[in-house]
């Protein structure tokens, strides 16, 4: 995919991104792509003013501004069945208030979209895509009678050392609090406490290293979003090849129709 196709008017073009078959664009040209994004002026900031960390912001905000679209024709919600891929594993995590919370408690009873992320992530094909997808999905779902009381969003940090509960609170507070669909930000007490969950969910994480073998601070991982039903079964796993709000919401509506009693707890708020 050309960088021109990827960047439609300075914003990520979801329709163009991942349009072609092999999941190769984001890896083949990942370095070049990232470089191009950093070098291209993004409407929100002037290029000269961009400190390194702002590149992530620019990319993220460009993502927020993009109107996502799915090129393919999706079947009507409820007209198909999502496979029961695997039982979602459990783990003890921490919420943004620092309170211990079983992951199963955060996912059971509702239709849950769960993504792993870390706040230092700057890969434009990584965490920012999940973030923007969740924002769009949350906005739409909060106005959808079928989903607003049944869908829940969960972000779990891959980086417990840096993504402490206060950092999670900052991120959580940056999102609108009046949306019907809750968005939980979770972390773990340590990397070792998180490791079994990552392994069970097939989310491989490795420290990125420079030419001298020193850690760069980045965590290499593949973007995945898990859709979990109210009984704890993983029913879809989205990769960058087909992660869009339309796709996610279509499947979430299918599960909401399958589980009409699903409850995200928003009715009591």
């Amino acid at each position: 995919m050309s960088q021109r196709a990827f960047l439609a008017g300075g914003a990520l073009d979801h329709a163009a991104f991942g349009r072609n078959r092999l999941n190769a664009e984001n890896v083949i040209d990942s370095k070049n792509l990232e470089r191009a994004l950093c070098e291209k002026p993004v409407s929100t900031f002037s290029h000269r003013a961009l400190p390194p960390f702002a590149h992530a912001m620019a990319v993220a905000l460009a993502l927020f501004a993009a109107e996502p679209a799915f090129a393919g024709k999706l079947p009507a919600p409820g007209s198909y069945a999502l496979q029961r891929i695997q039982a979602a594993p459990d783990a003890e995590l921490l919420d943004a208030a620092g309170q211990r919370l079983r992951l199963s408690k955060a996912t059971s009873g509702a239709v849950t979209a769960l993504a792993f992320f870390y706040s230092h992530c700057q890969d434009p094909a990584g965490c920012p895509v999940a973030w923007s997808t969740f924002e769009w999905a949350r906005k739409e779902a909060s106005e959808d009678p079928l989903l607003k009381s049944r869908l829940r969003l969960v972000f779990v940090s891959l980086d417990p050392e840096r993504d402490t509960p206060p950092v999670l609170k900052l991120l959580q507070d940056s999102e609108r609090s009046d949306a019907s669909v809750p968005w939980l930000f979770l972390t773990a007490s340590s990397r070792s406490a998180l490791a079994p969950l990552l392994q069970a969910m097939g989310e491989e994480v490795a420290f990125d290293v420079d030419a001298k073998g020193g850690k760069t601070g980045a965590l290499n991982h593949m973007l995945k979003v898990f859709l979990i039903d109210p009984e704890g079964w993983t029913r879809e796993i989205y990769t960058v090849a087909f992660l869009t709000p339309e796709n996610l919401l279509n499947d979430a509506r299918t599960l909401a129709l399958e589980f009409p009693g699903a409850d995200n707890g928003s009715k009591g708020r």
Binding site: E34, G72, C127, K215, T216
Partner: protein
Amino acid sequence: MASNIKLGRKRAALAALLCASALGLSPAQADETCNSPFMSGLIKGQEQYLHVWTLGEKGVGDESDKLVTIDVIPGSKTYGKVIHALSVGGRGEAHHMGFTDDRKYLWAGRLDDNKIFIFDVGTDPSTPKLVKTIGDLTEKTGYVGPHTFYALPGRVLVQALSNKQDHGGRTGLITFNNAGESIATTPMPLENGGDGYGYDIAINPAENLMLTSSFTGWTNYMMDVGQLLQDSAAMKNFGATMVLWDLKAMKPEQVFSVPGAPLEIRWSLAPGANWAVTATALTSKLYLVKEDEQQQWRAKAVADIGDPAAIPLPVDISIAADGKSLWVNTFSDGATRLFDLSNPEAPKEIYAKKIGSQVNMVSQSWDGKRVYYTSSLLANWDKKGADNEQFLKAYAWDGKELKESFAIDFYKEGLGRAHHMKFTAAAPKAEAE
């Protein structure tokens, strides 16, 4: 004002983020052009190891089916040599392989005894390890002949070739999770022109589309090819369709008439392209699957492969990463042919070379500079006597000529019949969690 405040808060939150370079996990450093779009770690560059799923043969080595690993790192002391061979026991018509989405495991099937072997190639690709054998496919699903292994997120989609009732061509798809548990079966369609046959799988995730092709059942693929060609009734039992599926719903949307056993399917990988090609084994034609001007998907013959009257028997194909060319092997004359696909509506053969007395599979590197060939089609369809050459041959492609880099005689090495190939590379040196 409210939106400005909100944006300001968002910026403030995001400003807390530190700069880091996240490049996405890339466990492999090279790859082919025919893998699932859901696979991670596809990076152009130099592949390091080539794995060949090899049919054991009586009187050759330990006579067992085996996964053979060859060092293909230029400059390596063992470049072009077999560095590992893992026998799995018995002979069950070893055939095709496919990676899981995380690229850590390689699934390999046998068409006769229906076993599926799962190899760990992520820990150390130079020495694959057998970690699981699925031996109850037919008992659990009724399907026979696990052929194509195609990665879905967290799952492997397996296309079978046959069934246990009549060992004919009616068959289905089986979805496994990555742990090797069967979670769904989907019969190939018999309605709207469907013949129920299966062969290959190719997915276009952005369009929510899957294509399948059709070959033949156990009775035919296990029959001696000389006997088969004389059996007019058996020769009618070949697939003549391709199916376009709604991937999400796993429901057939359209059945195309594609006579003559359409085999491997390749979607174009070119940016903006939205078409796929296949080759028909018995009628020697390239077919294009594409939307027409009315947004109707069609399959149409767009080129002959060699002289169809001579039955060159097209087998494997390999599309270039830019979608502009296609290698097509023809088993009967042992040739590989390069087609110009710049206009997919009218492919043109622009180069041909005889690889051996017989040739079946072809795999090219992402940059197209290296092309690998193996010889075996099916144990009972391979040529006899001196023409039954069994090899892996590697070539360098400079855009004009294939030049041999190395060749391995699989009989002299005591290995067997060389069939499907897959590339791997060692993981980059990063401290794993």
